[in-house]
């Protein structure tokens, strides 16, 4: 079994009218784990997923999904999908929607019934499966959407903006469900522009902009370059100390100093020098670039406007050492 579940190269899509949605996307998604595809609105994220799901026909596409050429219909029996703004028939009950999707996948019999009950419980809809979709809230519909995406016990689950329109409590529960899916060994492929959420759960990400992948890797790999220590001090620094710190590569801005080291050992002489001059060290912490910062650096200011809609500002991932 290959460790790569999606391996595509040079995927292109030009819509009628000349709009070039994808301009040679190459991507590798490892098996197991949560993969996040980020990008501003219109970057081509949904188009890429739709090509993989055979909903959109690519202008050009080389590559495989689960070892078969992209577009191979039978492979889709091993794939789950929750589209953005998913619509389910309002006249069906929650459990019926899941069984309907199971039927479309070709599943039948006792297994479907059993699995439907399990999934309803898993998404916290055990008591609501016998109610019509028309009576559900947005969050409840998304839960059913998630359950239907899992009915065929898929190896890969594609979730396009799964938390869009879901309240904070629902988002937290959704994150827990995604982590559970990862623990079960599935590959979860999420399209989202809610960077804070992705940062919390994704093992690896790719950033798309204007139809191209501009960065790809684990979050740790992508933010490694930006790892640094930040020192906040109180008290004036002498000119001599300032010069010495600058020679040691310390960047000073107001009362905050940044030192680009990955190891805390080289920080010790700096701390000693500050203490020797009687400077009060208010705080020292290890800092790395947040996903949002990485994203903004990758797509530039042009793409940012659309990406922040509905997002919660991600917290800077800092680990306080001294306070």
């Amino acid at each position: 079994m290959s460790d790569i579940v999606i391996d595509i190269a040079d995927v292109r899509k030009r819509y009628r009218g000349g709009v070039e949605a994808l301009r040679g996307v190459s991507l590798q998604v490892p098996r197991g784990g949560i993969f996040g595809l980020l990008g501003p609105n219109g970057a081509g994220k949904s188009t890429l997923v739709k090509i993989l799901m055979t909903i959109v026909r690519p202008t050009r596409c080389c590559g495989t999904m689960l070892g078969e050429a992209v577009g191979h219909k039978s492979t889709l029996a091993k794939v789950g999908y929750l589209p953005e703004h998913a619509r389910f028939p309002e006249y069906l009950k929650g459990a019926e929607v899941i069984r309907y999707v199971a039927g479309l996948t070709g599943m039948s019999g006792h297994l479907v019934k059993q699995r439907t009950a399990e999934l309803l419980d898993m998404v916290g809809m055990g008591d609501w499966g016998k109610h019509r979709m028309g009576t559900y809230s947005k969050g409840m519909k998304q839960r059913i959407g998630l359950a239907q995406a899992l009915i065929n016990d898929p190896e890969i689950v594609f979730l396009d903006e799964p938390t869009d329109g879901v309240d904070p409590k629902g988002r937290l529960e959704m994150r827990n469900l995604l982590q559970k899916m990862r623990d079960e060994g599935r590959t979860v492929f999420i399209n989202s522009h809610l960077l804070g959420e992705l940062e919390m759960i994704c093992d690896s990400v790719a950033i798309m902009d204007k139809g191209e992948i501009v960065r790809q890797g684990t979050i740790a790999e992508l933010t490694e370059k930006s790892r640094r220590y930040e020192l906040r001090t109180r008290g004036d620094l002498s000119e001599g100390l300032q010069r010495k710190l600058a020679e040691d590569g310390v960047e000073t801005e107001g009362d905050t100093m940044s030192v680009y080291h990955r190891d805390p050992a080289p920080m010790q002489p700096i701390l000693d020098a500050l203490r020797a001059e009687g400077v009060t060290i208010v705080e020292m912490r290890e800092v790395r670039q947040s996903l949002e910062e990485l994203f903004m650096e990758s797509v530039g200011s042009e793409g940012v406007g659309g990406t922040q809609k509905g997002s919660t500002p991600p917290q800077l991932p800092g680990k306080e050492l001294v306070k």
């Binding site: 889709l76 998913a86 619509r87 479309l104 996948t105």
Partner: protein
Amino acid sequence: MRQILTILWDSYRLLAAKKLFWIVLFLTVLIAMIYASVGFTPEGISVLFGAYQIESDLIVEGSMFAEYLYMMIFTDYLVPWWLGLFALVLALISVCPIFPDFLKTGSIDIAISKPMSRVMLFLVKYLGSLLFVAAQVSVFCVIVFIAQGVRLAIWNLEIFWAVLLLTFVFSLIYSVAVLVAVWTRSTLFSLLIALLVWGSTLAVQWSESVIYKLTYAAPASGLSIDMKTGQTGQADKPLEVNEGMEKFYRVIKAVGTPLPKTRDATYLLKKKVTVRGKNLTRMSEFLEDDASERERREAKVTEDYDNRHSTAYIVGSSLAFEAFILGIACWIFVRKDF
């Protein structure tokens, strides 16, 4: 197979969720029950389960004419007018949103992303939509079947041809609605275009029917019509066919050939059902032995009119139309990016 059954099951659930489906079904049952309320007594016809009596010497209990009349009400009035027109319009209104709704973003994505070809998905969805009419006509035919059995002691399974024929007629009109829906995703537009095409084909079929009567049936009956004055005359023997009218008829028939034969297909039912083994389009078989020469001639004229188009022509040309329209719709559906 499981996928096909799933889509058909969903179609049934969709119909069951529509109020209009139950309203039309109620009206259909009501009309069928009114039909069932007609009976025959030794004195004549009883209506509304004996509430009213119409005296008749000819149409009485046990007579062939009673059977003929009972069947003719079904084939010439109930099927073409209620099931074949009003109920069909209501069915079209009810079923037209199926494809536009199915094609909405977020809905179509789920279906297309499954291991099932787009062609199969399209065709099964289309067939599932025809359930509306098939179910309505089936219920109607069951009531008519029981009514005929109870009233006349005739258990005539031939009336169930109506289910096949009317579903076929509906499929012809609905194929146009599906093409427009796949193309534009608009319910309103697809309904309007389907009604427009249906209306146009009906107009052509009615014109063809009227011009046939003027060109062939009237002269064959010895009836002459002065087109300038409107005066009519009756001769004792058949008259010559007017060449100008004949050319005109050929033109109107050529215009109608590629179009769906909704009206003619509905009347095909008359070719399929029999009364005491006699076909309803063979009028001469119903004449008594002492019928006059003129009665025989009139019967022959009616026969020729009823059989002027072969079943192969009506069904074949309509199927060709449907295959062409559905082919385009399917091609668009298969190639479309959703």
